[in-house]
Symmetry: C2
Subunit: 343 residues, 2 copies
Amino acid sequence: MLTERQLLILKVTVDDYIQSAQPVGSNQLAKKPGITSSSATIRNELAELEGQGYLEKTHTSSGRIPSQKGYRYYVDHLLTPNPVPQQDIVQLRSVFEEKVNETEEIIKRSAGILSELTNYTSILLGPDIRKHIVKKLSIVPLSPGMAVAIIVTDSGHVENRVFSIPPDLDPSDIEKMVNILNERLIGVSLYDLHKRLEQETLALLRQHIERYGELFRTFKQALLLPRADNVYYGGKLNILKQPDFHDIQKIRELMNVMEEGKHIPEILPIGAQGLQIRIGSENALAAMEDCSVITVSYDIGDEQMGSIAIVGPKRMDYRRIVSLLDYVSGDLSKELTRLFQGK
Amino acid sequence: MLTERQLLILKVTVDDYIQSAQPVGSNQLAKKPGITSSSATIRNELAELEGQGYLEKTHTSSGRIPSQKGYRYYVDHLLTPNPVPQQDIVQLRSVFEEKVNETEEIIKRSAGILSELTNYTSILLGPDIRKHIVKKLSIVPLSPGMAVAIIVTDSGHVENRVFSIPPDLDPSDIEKMVNILNERLIGVSLYDLHKRLEQETLALLRQHIERYGELFRTFKQALLLPRADNVYYGGKLNILKQPDFHDIQKIRELMNVMEEGKHIPEILPIGAQGLQIRIGSENALAAMEDCSVITVSYDIGDEQMGSIAIVGPKRMDYRRIVSLLDYVSGDLSKELTRLFQGK
DNA sequence: GTTAGCACTCTATCAGTTCGAGTGCTAAGA
DNA sequence: TCTTAGCACTCGAACTGATAGAGTGCTAAC
């Protein structure tokens, strides 16, 4: 159990360390407004806080820095929210000023602005494209042996793949195929597309198209791998600005993990509601043990659509980021919903 | 003028420094196979080479490292080509093993493999999409106020933009518009598209569509900004692997320059034929004064289509990279031509 | 022209020193 | 009993020689 004074000292210590990146000493704390005790008393309290595991020393006669437990307590109990400054709001809303109609573009730009405002790295996860609904399918022949398949979804997302076709295929067969596909597959989600393709259209295609086999096989294969590149980064290089990261080896590991898309699920707790903070080793990845990640989800309509994450050092400005993400999440939900309610 | 022996010593010095990243001393050189003189003689020669500006010292009693002029001479006169090892070839050709049909995908994967093989950063510039020819235009309505415009080019590239339409627009008007656009604009290059759109179709649209004005305006605006994202990177983080780069500030500048697309024309000498090597300050950008860039162009058919660049430290393995790029350029030209001759 | 030998220079490293920031403890004071 | 002044102590950072070693340039002999 911590006394009032201990709580105050813990808060001020963490705040100061977040700001200065230097271990905080008792004399320094004694000078802070709001603290009335002498440095000796503070020393006793610091020793107590260290004993309880909230603070640490870097060496025997150094000042204190927050431990992981200290950050956790600070975040859970001592964080006083901070209204988002007007100029940050202006910059964030500039995304919607220009008439940008594409969800992807809006998310991409937001990522950039967030990283600029915070000096940390931002990761924005867009809506899962596999949930989108097929609006139209078409096939455009390019050359005797090649064609491109195009899928338009209700969100305006366009997927396209080049695939090979029998070189001597009758153009009318392609037309037939497109008609069958559209007749049967409009309204299906990209997620179900592959399964439904076989169930719904194979028999029909067999009836109407002479050499359906090869055509169907390459078309199906083209749709097989859904490119899930709905992850957008902002300020990947901001890690290099943080004094906390000086070891090039560690930086490389960290950037590597973020670069590779496959670790996204481990970085972002997908499906989690509301705002989440992961400090240091609370992160799933070993490469991120010196980082904190703050995530928040946003929605379009009633459905959760994506997440926003800010990755920074453990010594991150939690207060500012929490308010900022809170605002952005609400704003993005509102604007994207508006964009889509139009339909 | 340099004597035979001086040339030999220069070559061995550069080779050794490229390999070890340490200043090279006279004793070390004396032990090398092929060098018969004593270290004292070598010292005299080194002094001469330094006097002529080919070598430098890091401090008065240090070994020698190549100067920019030294690298330049080495690259121009002392480089003996090296056959590309079979295992590199196997890895490079794996791009074409899987049935990947899209130019973009092939280039992207090549960038990845090149960076893996070299441990440097690779930048691949794809064909200029603005030269591509329109194969088909279509407009898919998404909701009463929104539609997506899709342009398919002869290369299989698909451009798409969401744009707004008058909410109460008659669907048949869109159909008419698409017909007019296709009738008039197929065969036009993306480069000319914007100009021709106005010239060729505006009058016709006016005749046939009631409220052509707003529709045409937003459609035209949607096509305005051609996303020129035909640049692919491999191994951006490889810079962090090079011992030559230890200053985080410099690394940041360098990565920044590469990250920002707008500097590409300065990094890659566009339009240059064949293989180009830029060493240190020969690069246009100040941030790259410690780098060397080796570029090569590749073609599809008779037309120059793009460039490949490898960015590394000045102390780059020129011999290996030159052979490798030479091979990749030829291979890529051949395979992409084959892919497109199909048409 | 080449090379052995030697004095010289500079770096890297290690031990020793000092300085200052900060701690923990003790004892006196409120 | 809690607070605080005072003091001894610890440790890192920064500086100082001292030393070893790598490498150079020069000279004189071959």
